[in-house]
């Protein structure tokens, strides 16, 4: 009522029209139940032009038609669900949207015979059994018994990420576990061909790879003189060895120095410098002449020698040929006689053969021994040669009186590293030098600059 009063009092034509339109709608409810919506609309009929389609939509009374259509929808369109129908009912909008689609009308089931009821749609399979199981489950639940499926769910270990992580943990994980790798038989997963093609089977390792590249033992025990409290003589022996090593080093150094040495008298004095500077300025012309003269002579001689070679005459050729034949004959004869003579030299030949064989045998032996010795030697595997580590030695006055005062000499790490190199497992190598790609620029910071 208040709303209508306000609306009326607003005195605006547009508003009034709107109100009228709203009230004329079929679903409109006034606040006062006694007043019907039709009463509110003034009895005076409004005139409108009917030649405009817009006005047809607005002012023609289509309520009875719509009601009829609605009935149709409610009665015959059983496939339209209620939820869909409701908004249609509520809105009751006029126009295209409120009407059923033509396609729906075409698809409409127009047979008068009702479709047969699908019984199965209303029936549950095993309904009895299900009911019974449900009943039993209820009873068990009342007794506090958890069904198996639920139990399994509860018992299922939670896939936590931590455990997975440890599984794929790197092989330096201190808690990693080991198993009997040699005891378990490899189980056949399938055909060998299949395994090979899917790269599930590893390629067989060639036997040759299992041979060690050196015959040296993995751990070479230090000489007895290297004991922390050594026997006098073995210690002396070790010292002597170390001394020899040092001597060798010294020798090499001395040799290098000798090679690099120069005569002290050869140093430049003022005189020699002056002479060097003047060199070539004085007596230049004479020397050149001297140089040129023999050159020309040589050229002349060479030309002459080529010119001297003459063509041979027919006679000369024949004679040469005859001489050649004769020489050949002589040689064949000589060879024959020699062979005949060899018959009488059989014994000496035998001995000479024997000697040869002996020498080859000796050589073979020597070669074999050398090969054996080579096996224990470090090979040349790269740019650098193997350098044995410095000998660990303690001088007599460095030796400790007791285990407590012992100062360890050398490093086991170095020893191991050199041992690997010595056994040809890795190549001796220098540490790669760090190469800077870009230049470094040093700039003094301002704060620093202020002070300095």
């Amino acid at each position: 009522m208040i709303l209508t009063f306000e609306n009326l009092s607003s005195n605006m034509a547009a508003a009034r029209r709107l109100k009228r339109v709203a009230i004329s709608q079929p679903g409109f409810l006034t606040l006062n139940p006694k007043v019907t919506p039709t009463d509110l609309v003034s009895s005076r009929r409004k005139r409108v032009n009917k030649n405009k389609k817009k006005n047809w939509n607005k002012y023609s009374d289509v309520q009875d038609v719509e009601e009829f259509l609605e009935d149709l929808v409610n009665l015959k369109f059983c496939f339209l669900c209620e939820e869909a129908a409701e908004p249609v009912k509520g809105k009751k909008r006029k126009g295209k949207s409120s009407r059923p689609l033509r396609i729906d009308l075409i698809l409409q089931h127009d047979s008068l015979v009702a479709p047969p009821k699908d019984v199965l749609a209303y029936q549950k399979p095993n309904a009895k059994k299900l009911r019974r199981t449900a009943e039993r489950a209820e009873k068990l639940a009342a007794n506090g018994v958890v069904p198996r499926s639920k139990k399994r769910l509860l018992n299922r270990t939670v896939v936590d990420r931590m455990s997975k992580k440890t599984e794929t943990e790197a092989n330096n994980n201190p808690e990693r576990d080991f198993y009997d790798i040699w005891g378990q038989e490899t189980k056949d997963l399938g055909e060998p061909w299949y395994l090979q093609q899917t790269r599930k089977k590893l390629v067989k390792r060639p036997e040759k790879l299992n041979e060690k590249p050196s015959v040296l033992p993995a751990v070479e025990v230090i000489a007895p003189g290297g004991s922390y409290n050594p026997d006098f003589f073995s210690h002396q022996e070790l010292l002597r060895e170390a001394h020899e090593v040092e001597l060798k080093k010294k020798k090499v150094e001395d040799k290098l120095e000798r090679q690099l040495a120069y005569n002290k008298a050869d140093t430049a004095t003022e005189e020699t410098i002056l002479r060097e500077q003047v060199e070539g300025l004085v007596e230049e012309s004479e020397e050149e002449e001297e140089k040129d003269a023999p050159k020309e002579d040589g050229e002349e001689v060479a030309v002459g020698a080529i010119a001297v070679a003459d063509k041979k005459t027919e006679r000369q050729r024949k004679r040469e040929k005859a001489e050649k034949m004769k020489e050949q004959q002589r040689l064949t004869e000589r060879r024959q006689t020699e062979q005949q003579q060899q018959l009488f030299q059989l014994r000496s030949i035998k001995t000479s053969i024997k000697q040869q064989e002996e020498t080859t045998q000796i050589r073979q032996k020597r070669r074999k021994a050398k090969e054996e010795a080579q096996k224990a030697q470090p090979r040349r595997l790269g740019k650098l040669k193997f350098q044995p580590q410095d000998m660990e030695v303690q001088l007599s006055d460095e030796l400790a009186g007791s285990l407590r005062q012992l100062k360890p000499e050398g490093s086991v790490l170095m020893d191991r590293f050199k041992s690997l190199q010595k056994r040809n497992l890795i190549e001796p190598r220098e540490r790669a030098k760090f190469k800077r790609r870009l230049k470094v620029k040093y700039v003094e910071k301002r704060a620093f600059k202020e002070i300095s």
Binding site: T168, N171, R199, L202, G226, S227, Y228, F233, G401, L425
Partner: protein, 587 residues
Amino acid sequence: MGGLQKKKFERGSATNYITRNRARKKLQLSLPDFRRLCILKGIYPHEPKHKKKVNKGSTAPRTFYLLKDIRFLLHEPIVGKFREYKIFVRKLKKAYGKTEWSAVERLRENKPTYKLDHIIKERYPTFIDALRDIDDALCMCFLFSTFARTGKCHVQTIQLCRRLTVEWMNYVIASRSLRKVFLSIKGIYYQAEVMGQLITWVVPYQFSHDHPVDVDYRVMATFTELYTTLLGFVSFRLYSSLNLVYPPKLDSNGESEPKEESEDDYAMNSESYLEKLSALSASLARVVSSADEEEAQLDQFPSEGEDMEKMEAREKELKQQEAQKKLFEGLKFYLNREVPRESLAFVIRCFGGQVSWDKSVCIGSTYDVTDETITHQIIDRPSVGKQYINRYYIQPQWLYDCVNAKILLPVEDYFLGVTLPPHLSPFVEEKEGDYVPPEKLKMMALQRGEKPGNEQEEDEEEEEEEGEQEEEEEQEEDDNGDEEDDEEEVAEEKNLKKMEEQRSQGKSLHVKVTPGKLKVENKARLEQEEKAEEKRLAIMMMKKKEKYLYDKIMFGKKRKVREANKLAAKRKAHDDSEKEKKKKARK
């Protein structure tokens, strides 16, 4: 003859080898990765016989690999892992650069890793193969386990190495397979006999690390990576062969239970177990607890090739070994805090002794200094404050020398403050005619169970001198316990000497009285003469060539003996001069 011209370097050795760089490119790996792969797979560079042929005419020094080896490497699944890792690093770098921390975390969680199990199986097809190669692995693990956790290598690697070495030591203790120990200036060499294989390893002294700069740590770490895996599998197998639980568990019902009190203040809970294990003082739990295992008697089947002498010799050796295994059984040791605890505990436990230490030194001590049943206290300082009467105070070298000599040596030479006899290397085996140091001779005589007279006198002299020294010391310390012991010993020895003298006199008389024995001697002499005659004849009958060889060999032997004699004489002179010096100094 027609045909195509043969090109150079397309056949023969040039095609059998491949340079390192080409191999690296073929595998699509960076140089460090390639090197790591080669180490893991056991593929080593090769020196060709004719370098110039292989190097296509150039003589530049290069590293070569066999082409077939590299082809074999192509099949390795780990190569793929290396590539994955490379990509992982690249992604991680990028994420860091963009400061995408969640991405960094996610990448780190999915870091690609690999295992070396299949490589171990491939490289060592049987357990014995692996055991033969275990020397290197042990050395490396012991070395890495002593590293400080400073970032020179991965901390986890150090921990794993520590765990594996402790397991190994516990195995050696349980199987009693230690044979030799040698204290060198470099480190301690151990030798054990495991399943018929002699295994040698070296352990650095504790706290002796100066890291050398010219060692490639990356290479060493790669070797360690392989060797830790190998050692783990080997120790699993060894433990199961002894019916021990793996990973090792301390025996809960052992007679020597480590005290519980000191645990908390020593190590964190997570670490304390490993620490207790590494204390080496308790025995390990077995799968089948067997109270007394019966030693399987070795069956004796004299094979055809062997004669009885060899059999007997072997039996004797076996007996000796058995005796050595029980060397310290029944003895109770106490380690002072200045001696190397781990090494000594290991050695003592390997031969069946009981050991303990001050509870502030390490976890796992089983009894106190005050225990009256302690038989030996290992000490390495010039003097002690309080001494107990019923135990020996000896220097640590005694233990090691006993192990090497396979008998309990007389303790007198190793008493407190005494100049120790030299520690001889057990790894030296003298051949016939070599120079043998007198200390070793003495030891060998002791092993045979006799005391040569001449040396005994010397010994006595020395002992008397030492006794005097000790007496003086003890007077200073106002402790007369050991003195009494010494006096008793001296008295006993005197008695023994008297008896020996009597016996010798009796023997000579015996010989004079009965002519029958003389005859026996004659027989022996005759036999000897006969033998000598035979030998002489055999030498005479030799061919000229053989004779020459024989003479050469004999000359070599004689020369060796001569040299050994010379050294011995020198040594005697040296000893004499030392003695005189001592005497003079005393006067």
